[in-house]
Every structure is written in C-alpha cells, then in structure tokens.
Amino acid sequence: MEQNKENMMVAALENGSVIDHIPTDKLFTIVQLLDLEKFKEEVVIANNLKSQVMGKKGLIKIAGKFFSEAEISKLAVVCPNIRLTVIKDYEVKEKREVTLPEELTNIVKCANPVCITNNEPMKTVFYRKDKETLKCRYCGKEQNLKDIKLK
C-alpha cells in the first residue's frame, strides 16, 4: 500500500526529477544543498518511508528540475548510492544510481589550509581513491567523505 502511494506520487509528476533511496539522516542535507527552500515549482519532501533495501528512506520529488552533471556529482559526494529518476511527460526517461565519480571538479573544498586551492581563485580537483576517500589533485591530501565540505 505504502509502495503504491509512493509510485503514485512519482507518477503524478509531469516533468522533473525524483531523488530516491536517500538515507533518512541525509534528507535535509540534500534539501539544503539543492536550496529547495527557494524553489518555486512543486516540491515533495518525504522521510521515513518504508524501504525493502534500506528499512527507511527519504525521497524528494521536484517538478521542472533536471540535474546537471555537476549537481549530480555534489549529490554523490553528500550521499553516494541514491537513485535519480528523470520524468518527462509522465514517463520515466532515465533511472540511475548516483555513484561517486572518479574525478570531481570544483565540487569539494580541500581541508588542507595550505593547499593552493584554498588560496587562489581556482577550481579544486579531487580523485576518488576508494568509495570513502577522496584525494586532492594539488596537495595530495586525502579526505574521508564524512568530513567533506562542499565548495
């Protein structure tokens, strides 16, 4: 029943995106990250929905919003393994697991205060070392995803 309702909620979207499989403690981080407070179109934010895989999960449905690759990368850093669904004319056009990319350009801020990227107007570049660690291209310092600050 819960599942049906959720499906209806997604299906009701004419054009837009659905972010699914959000860990419940990350939902409002994503709301903040996407600056949804200022969004003028229809936004549905749901939390603690039942999930077979996760137990409980969060979900965000945004009308008229299609994410750029940079935005998707940001989402992946904050919350790896969420699912993104793109809907056009009431139909699911794309469904993908958002995973941490190999390389992140200008998404993450380096935690090293003496890294050149924190002292020069330039883009940061980070490489994915493993599923929890990023490495700064410039100073070489590694950071755990838990401690990441976005630019």
Binding site: I116, P121, G140
Partner: protein, 349 residues
C-alpha cells in the same frame, strides 16, 4: 665518417625532424585535459629508466659543468618563499650553462604582496622566461603553475609537499657513492614526520629494493601513510628508536635530518630526545667501508663537527651534486637530451 660540416648538417636535420615531432606532440597534448608540458613538479612517479637517464645527464654535467648550452635562454627563479641554498644552486646551474637569470628572492617586493594571484604572476613571467624555477609555501602551487602556462616549471619546493630537485641530488649522491641504487640499506635518522626530503627519497627508491631503517623519536616517527606506502610497494622497513654505533653498523647510507624544537608539542619530550639523535665521530667505528652520511642541510647540531673529517661524511659533496642534478633538470625541461649533452660543442674549459 662525417667531417665536421657533415656532422653539423646531420645535427641540423635531426633538430628539424625533432622540432616537427614536438610540434605535433604539443598539438596532441593540447587536446588532453590538463595542459601538459615538460614541467618537473614531482619525480615520485618516474620509472627507473627516466631516473637513470637524469643521473647520466648529471654525470655529464659533473664532468663538464661549464657550458654555453643555454646561451640566449632566460631562466626565472621565483622564490615566493625564501630558500637561499636552493636558489643559489639553481641560479648557479643556469649561469654555468650560459643562461641569464631573472627573478625574485622575496615575495614582499613583488606584486604578490599587492594581492596578485599566482596565476597572473606565472602568466606574466611566462612572457619573459624559457623556464620557471619556483618555490612556494603553498602545497600544490607548482602543479597549478604548470597548468596555467606552456613554459616549463621546475618545482623547487611547494610547502611541505614536494622537492624533486633535492630528491634528484640525493639519488645522484647515493648512485655516485654506492655505484648503484639497488638493494641498499638506507637509514633515515631524526625528524621523519615532517622531513619532506626523507618522504620523497623513500618514494623514489621504491623500485630499487631498498631496506629502510627509520630511526626517530616517537613524536617524529615516520607517518602511517608512508609506512602504508612501503607495505603497498613491498618496501622493507624497520623502525627503531636507538641510535648507536651498533644500530647503524649495517648502513650503506645514513640520511641525517634535523630534530627541530618547534615540531614538538611536548617540550619535555624534546629535551629528552634532542641529544639522542646526534651523530658523533666515535659512532662510526663499526660502520661499513662504503657507508656515506647524507644531510639535506642546513645542520644545527645533529652531526658533530668532528664527523666532517671522516671519509664517511658526504653532505657537502651532496650539496655540490645538487648543481649537476639541477643542470640536468633545467636541460630536461627545455627538451635538451642526453644525446645533445654528449655531443655538446659548447663546453668551456
């Protein structure tokens, strides 16, 4: 058999072909994501072949350090952070090869102090110089500089990150004194936590099957990330805190570093260990015949002056090797090959 005119003709033909090849290489390089040039930001990933190539080049320069190979070239030395020793070594290398040198030794007198970005300074100097040697207090500065210009950059130290020319001269000193880089017992002593030179040397030796001995006080021991690096690369290492005649008896290279007071959070600990890592002449009785003592300099009290008289002392020669290593690095980034250097007709004296 060529006469001299023929040889010159062949050499000219060879240079024209090479120019064409480089032109097309450069065009291809522009397609790749980051601007690639012949910069030397790090040598940590150099293979054995490239290291040997640069060592051979340095040996050529040691045989004949004074040349006009870089006549008409301008070398810029941009020292955003003062470092007299490294700057003098690079400037001497450039001068001895016939280049002219421009630059600054103190960023306070440059536009950096007015808020100019590193990018703008590098772009501006790129209009004047054929190669830029730079030292900067910020980590990653040299890599970034190499991305914003086509002029090759040589990293003369970027914060506590990298210092490839020091590593190159260390490798050259080891190679010269031991006749090989393979299978050596390298003892690193003192500040292994913050010592940039020991970290770089460790990484550069990974393909030569070394056995490292890390001798340091607890507070300044080799960081976990480098021990992990050793494990991942099958590099043997032994950690110890005792520094005695017996513990260094098996060393081929004794790499001394300075234990600095300001590195300690616990000054009681500093007082306890400050004299424990001083090398004295009477500790050299049992050491191997071929053992050499290296030190990146400046030293304070970690090597007593009576050690200077020992045949094992090599730190001043090591600094001199820096000149030849830097001559090699400058030529390499300018596309001058070992073959060019061997066939060089501009040798003076």
């Amino acid at each position: 058999m060529f006469d001299e005119d023929n040889q010159a003709g062949c050499s000219l033909f060879y240079k024209i072909i090479r120019t064409f090849v480089r032109f097309f290489e450069d065009r291809n390089n522009k397609d790749i994501k980051y601007m690639e040039n012949r910069s030397i930001v790090s040598i940590a990933n150099y293979g054995k072949e490239k290291i040997q190539y640069l060592l051979n080049m340095a040996a050529e320069f040691e045989a004949h350090p004074n040349r006009q190979l870089l006549k008409g070239k301008v070398v810029a030395t941009l020292f955003f952070e003062p470092s007299t020793r490294t700057r003098l070594s690079f400037e001497t290398a450039a001068n001895r090869l016939g280049a002219r040198v421009i630059g600054f030794t103190d960023p306070k007198v440059t536009s950096s102090s007015k808020g100019e970005t590193l990018k703008d300074t590098i772009k501006m100097v790129s209009n004047y110089a054929d190669v830029i040697v730079m030292r900067h207090k910020l980590e990653g500065a040299a890599l970034y500089a190499s991305e914003v210009t086509n002029v090759p950059i040589i990293n003369a130290g970027d914060g506590s990150n990298l210092h490839p020319s020091q590593t190159m001269l260390d490798l050259y000193s080891i190679y010269k004194t031991q006749g090989t880089l393979e299978n050596l017992n390298i003892y690193m002593v003192g500040d292994l936590k913050y010592g940039r030179t020991v970290h770089s040397l460790l990484m550069s030796m990974r393909k030569y099957n070394p056995t490292f001995h890390f001798i340091a006080p607890k507070e300044l021991e080799m960081p976990e990330e480098y021990k992990l690096y050793c494990k991942q690369n099958n590099i043997k290492y032994i950690e110890q805190q005792d520094f005695t005649e017996d513990t260094i008896a098996d060393a081929d290279i004794l790499y001394m570093t300075r234990v600095q007071r300001e590195r300690f959070t616990d000054l009681m600990e500093y007082e306890r260990v400050k004299d424990a890592y001083i090398l004295k002449a009477d500790m050299l009785g049992k050491c191997k015949e071929n053992m050499k003592i290296l030190h990146p300099l400046p030293r304070v009290n970690e090597i007593e002056y009576d050690v200077d008289e020992s045949k094992h002392a090599y730190y001043f020669e090591q600094a001199q090797n820096g000149l030849y290593a830097r001559e090699a690095l400058i030529c390499d980034v300018l596309g001058i090959t070992l073959e060019d250097i061997k066939n060089d007709k501009t040798i003076i004296g």
